[in-house]
């Protein structure tokens, strides 16, 4: 075998060992043009500059649902997203005997479309602007933490107020790089959103919790909403007079075969990553904070499973349980992945490199100082995080939270709008209305009370200084029996009636929840003041530390992307399986074979008979992949996403829709802290599987036509 003859290209293709394409990075749209050469080399066929232009395709089709991502896929406002992103809308439209969650839903006509859950919004990004200078204006080195926080908040409120001048626009300012940069985004906020189509749960959530965060995967995690606006084209409350929204652009379905090795890109709204955490923070999360969260979530989920006995109760609590289970599994996965990959070791090495660099004489004064200053604040911040996690469990009791929100709203309303706290201005009123409204669909008194008892047991373990003793005392005085028996807040009209009433009216109320909320108000505000002081000090220290990180990266020629913060981001990579242990690999695609292999007839492996029949017959119609010789169901890619990207459009190099991202894998969860493209994979539902289910299983031919698919043979 002497000197091996080199057949590099062919060999590379055959062995599937193609050079990894860029995968790490949740890039801000404005950063993309500078990455153009790499993008083109990796397979982008569009002009890279197009990806920074929010007014042009494909970016003008990308929308946020607030917590999920989505995209316009027709000129008539049809929105594609994940099934698991519309669960609440299926839930609110369900009732015993008409279980849309289980059976799916298809509107045969526009008239049959159902209102989405209260609070569901389609947010269309219109503008994104760097407002760092404005947000940070007026900060001084000797300001107190509270003063810093107050100044930045005032700056932000002013910017937002100036931005939200057109009707139906929502403006929003987010922090990047630990508060070093701030961007203002202006979004069209579409409030009339309707449910168009969702497959049965046994397709849309095939595999359920068992397969969640797992590969191999065969989940049809897709669904469609439609966005409606007033006849004048501006967002409007739900109304029969509304008309479908005509987006600036919409995604077109890919026509070529998507295959292993192909370039793919994803634009969406990733929620939170922690890639710039220090070693000390990382260690605290993995040894202390995550285990605490895990326990709180486990106990919550177990409580719901134990207490939700009827179908109605299970429907009411489904989304809470799903949220708890999903988050719990994610934390478990992150902890296991961190152990396997030695995250602490990776962080220690990064920190040592940074520290060594900062210790050089030329760097010492600004950088070593910044590191030391940040380090000195971390412990107190982590302790506050732990306390907050425990106190937040009280919010699981829906009426208690509603009462506290109402009391807070009453107090804030005493101030002019511009002086109120963020989240309690007039612009936030509708969100509060929605929260108060949806309680109807989620509230089960016995279960709510059990959650409150569980939360109380938890907060009582905190040190006294961290507890809201006024709240606890008030609760103890009224007693939980009376609390739930005598409250009138379980009635939606009653809850909404309290909105906008003056503080005096609350003081005169004998509703036990309102009395408890009033009693706890002062302590709540005192706790908030302490948090604002801490937040301001942390901001000063963290931005200095991030400046050090950025300076260090610059010396190495590395361009930094910010941690995910719910804002619009761009990532690219390729369709790619993954090596497991030596000799075994995940393939890039799954197929209906896996559905048949997993079928048990029992949830969550109980596909609809019609799907099973079509799959057993191999009736793939037009939707088989020539390369696979069968129908693709889900696929893996080396793209960099996290929670919040759920529902994101996956596009090929021509910007055409090839699938919807919906999950990652347990092993890959390390990516919230550290990205490694040999282990992290995005799981997407292949567009061809969506179309096949619509055509062969659910008979949604009219939607296929709307998507531009010609009638089948």
């Amino acid at each position: 075998m002497r000197a091996p003859v080199r057949f590099l290209l062919l060999a590379t293709l055959l062995a599937g060992a193609a050079p990894a394409l860029a995968a790490e990075g949740m890039w801000m749209p404005a950063q993309v043009p500078a990455l153009g050469a790499r993008l083109k080399a990796d397979g982008l066929e569009l002009d890279p500059a197009a990806l920074a232009d929010l007014s042009k395709p494909p970016m003008n089709a990308i929308v946020s649902l607030g917590g999920c991502s989505a995209s316009f896929v027709s000129p008539e406002g049809l929105v594609a997203t994940n099934h698991h992103c519309i669960t609440a809308s299926l839930q609110v439209n369900s009732q015993p005997g008409r279980n849309l969650l289980r059976d799916g839903f298809l509107a045969k006509t526009r008239a049959e479309e159902l209102p989405a859950a209260p609070g569901v919004r389609v947010l269309v990004m219109e503008a994104l602007r760097d407002v760092s200078a404005e947000v940070l204006a007026g900060l001084g080195p000797r300001m107190s933490g509270e003063a810093r926080t107050a100044r930045m908040e005032a700056n932000r409120k002013a910017l937002i107020a100036a931005c939200e001048t057109s009707p139906g626009r929502r403006c929003d300012i987010r922090s990047y790089f630990g508060g070093r940069q701030w961007y203002l985004q202006r979004m069209l906020e579409i409030r009339d959103v309707r449910l168009v189509y969702a497959p049965a749960e046994s397709i849309g959530n095939f595999g359920g919790e068992i397969d969640n965060w797992q590969w191999p995967r065969q989940t049809g995690d897709f669904a469609f909403y439609r966005a409606y606006v007033g006849p004048d084209g501006n967002p409007a409350p739900q109304s029969a007079a509304n008309v479908p929204f005509r987006p600036g652009g919409h995604l077109k379905l890919a026509t070529g075969d998507l295959k292993e090795g192909d370039f793919v890109m994803i634009a969406g709204f990733p929620g939170v990553t922690e890639r710039y955490r220090t070693l000390a923070e990382t260690r605290a999360y993995f040894t202390d904070i995550y285990p605490l969260q895990l326990r709180l979530l486990s106990e919550w989920s177990e409580l719901i499973q134990r207490e939700a006995r009827t179908e109605a109760e299970r429907i009411a609590t489904a989304s809470a349980r799903q949220r708890a289970d999903n988050f719990k599994k994610k934390i478990e996965g992150q902890m296991a992945a961190a152990r396997t990959a030695d995250l602490i070791g990776i962080k220690a090495a990064q920190e040592k490199a940074l520290g060594d660099w900062a210790a050089r004489p030329a760097n010492r004064r600004p950088h070593a100082l910044a590191i030391a200053s940040y380090d000195s604040l971390i412990d107190a911040d982590l302790a506050a995080t732990r306390t907050r996690l425990v106190n937040q469990t009280l919010d699981r009791a829906l009426l208690l939270r509603a009462a506290r929100d109402l009391v807070r709203w009453a107090h804030e309303r005493q101030l002019p709008d511009a002086q109120r706290s963020l989240g309690f201005q007039d612009r936030d009123r509708q969100a509060l209305v929605d929260r108060l409204t949806i309680i109807d669909r989620q509230y089960v008194p016995r279960i709510d009370r059990a959650m409150l008892e569980q939360a109380l047991a938890e907060v009582r373990k905190l040190p006294e200084a961290s507890r809201n003793l006024a709240l606890e005392t008030a609760l103890a005085e009224v007693g939980l029996d009376r609390l739930y028996a005598e409250t009138r807040l379980a009635d939606r009209a009653e809850r909404l009636a309290w909105l906008d009433r003056p503080v005096e009216a609350f003081a005169a109320s004998d509703d036990p929840f309102i009395r408890v909320a009033l009693a706890s108000y002062a302590a709540d505000r005192a706790g908030e003041a302490r948090a604002r002081e801490r937040e301001g000090r942390m901001h000063a220290a963290r931005t200095a530390w991030m400046a050090t990180v950025a300076a260090h990266a610059a010396t190495q020629g590395r361009v930094l992307y910010p941690d995910a913060n719910g804002s619009l981001r761009f990532t690219w990579g390729q369709v790619r399986g993954r090596a497991l242990q030596d000799g075994v690999a995940w393939t890039a695609f799954t197929t209906p074979r896996g559905i048949l292999e997993k079928e048990t007839g029992e949830e969550p492996f109980n596909s609809p008979p019609r799907l099973l029949a079509q799959a057993r017959a191999g009736n793939w119609g037009r939707w088989a992949s020539p390369a696979l010789g069968t129908l693709p169901v889900n696929f893996l890619s080396t793209t960099d996403i996290t929670n919040g990207n759920s529902g994101s459009a996956v596009l090929n190099g021509r910007g055409e829709l090839v699938g919807l991202a919906f999950d990652g894998t347990l092993e890959g969860m390390l990516s919230d802290w550290h990205f490694d493209d040999t282990i992290t994979r995005t799981i997407s539902v292949d567009a061809r599987y969506m179309l096949w289910v619509m055509e062969k299983v659910d008979g949604a031919q009219h939607l296929l036509a709307e998507l531009g698919v010609e009638p089948g043979r």
Copy 2:
């Protein structure tokens, strides 16, 4: 995605879904030229006719070790085979304090080469001739079974005697297609075989029983012998005067990169397959005979593990235990694979198709009759098989078997050579000497006795008619204490001295083993006579049945290949991983990553420190695969092999050596009964791993030079 654009070729390459190349078939060399068009289409670059010519490369380099396959790899008689094929030679050269099995062996010079175990032969195929007409001459439809057997045996002995005229040639006649065809093979029988090189057991048997029949696999299952002949070029007993054999041809190492999808072919000596068994036989094996064998092997292996307490005892019993474990795991694998694949259902469908065809009016008389006639004999044949398996456990007692062989030999010697039984002619004397000699290295009295006790307990469960009561009585009379205490057969000189003594001398002996053997002789022969009658009747019925099978296949245009029978065969396919459950696959190659992943420091995952250091350093030298970007260790291919193929050269399309076949996988074991190229894979050690171990781990540079490898950088 409408009408998918078709990129068939590229798509196919990328997805690894290339059309399967021919894989089923253990073809006789003479059948290969007729397959030439398929071979060329699949990637053979040689002239297909060359593969039928035993006097030309590459076929003149392929040799048998009797039970294993091997090949010449240098003009100086260097023979490459599997590590597990030379275990006995490592064992006989080991002693406490010098454990070649554990530590490996490398002769730095020819003078340091060690004699292989007694009985080891290198058999060089010189000629292969169809002698069906001669073997079947004189058979008549109304002959008794015994007469048929005797007539064929006489025909065979005459043909063999006529063939074995040149010195050092061994001739041999084997049955094909159930005795319808017979081929005479003439082989040069090289008797001076020396051990040249074997890596440490932790390389050569990496993974041990845990990984046996498994993938992923990282076993360096290779070793080298050298063949020596007398100064006149003819085979000779071991002697310092002997010189390395100069083979007619030897294999050259491949220089190109072997990659997934590449054409590969294997020539070797597969032992036994059962692909033409009927439904009734198949059912009996899987429900009755295999479970029995499994139990007998398990109990044997457990006994050895329990009783072999010292290092010396473990060395002595190593090959017996390895044989038992290997066979046991194979049977378990076959049983599991048969269940998974529904072998019984497959056989039933095949049999129904054959029966339906045979039932047509035109076919009824010859074919339906042949099927019925064969069916009528099967039950008795299967019962005899079960009895034989149990009685054979007595042969595990080495001195009992030796005594019975010696007694039989003495009786046979009373006849002229041509009239003696096959296996007891003068030409078989050396094999007997070897068997009697190697007992020295394997005999542990306490363990031998325990095996005999175990066997006796087993035979006592048989129906009386199936037992050798004379033997049992004689054993009971002498008692096992005296048997082992008083025998002198434990001494090699004493054993060999008995060879060629007359029957009268045996009758006068007071050695308890000889007395037992003498007592059992008449019953042994009576049992053999019954077997010969059955065998003759089965031959008549089975050949008629096979004629029916062949006629049926001919109507479908199918060419049949014969079941494996230890003769030279040819198979081809491609380097190819395998799909597991949907979304998961075996990759075609393993790499040193797997060695490091499995390393525990404990047997069988205790690689030598030097190997670990080189692997951790990624010091692959010239041996990395460009396609893989690392060193290939083992690879999978869709070739059709079985036991006996161990050590077979794996060749690329140019006839160059790319590896040595050494195993299959549990799931693929069905192939002894039914070949399915979606599940059956051959496991081979990549030649590049062999060369890397030799160069970087064991410092065998002089052997690399002999293999034609130029000195490394």
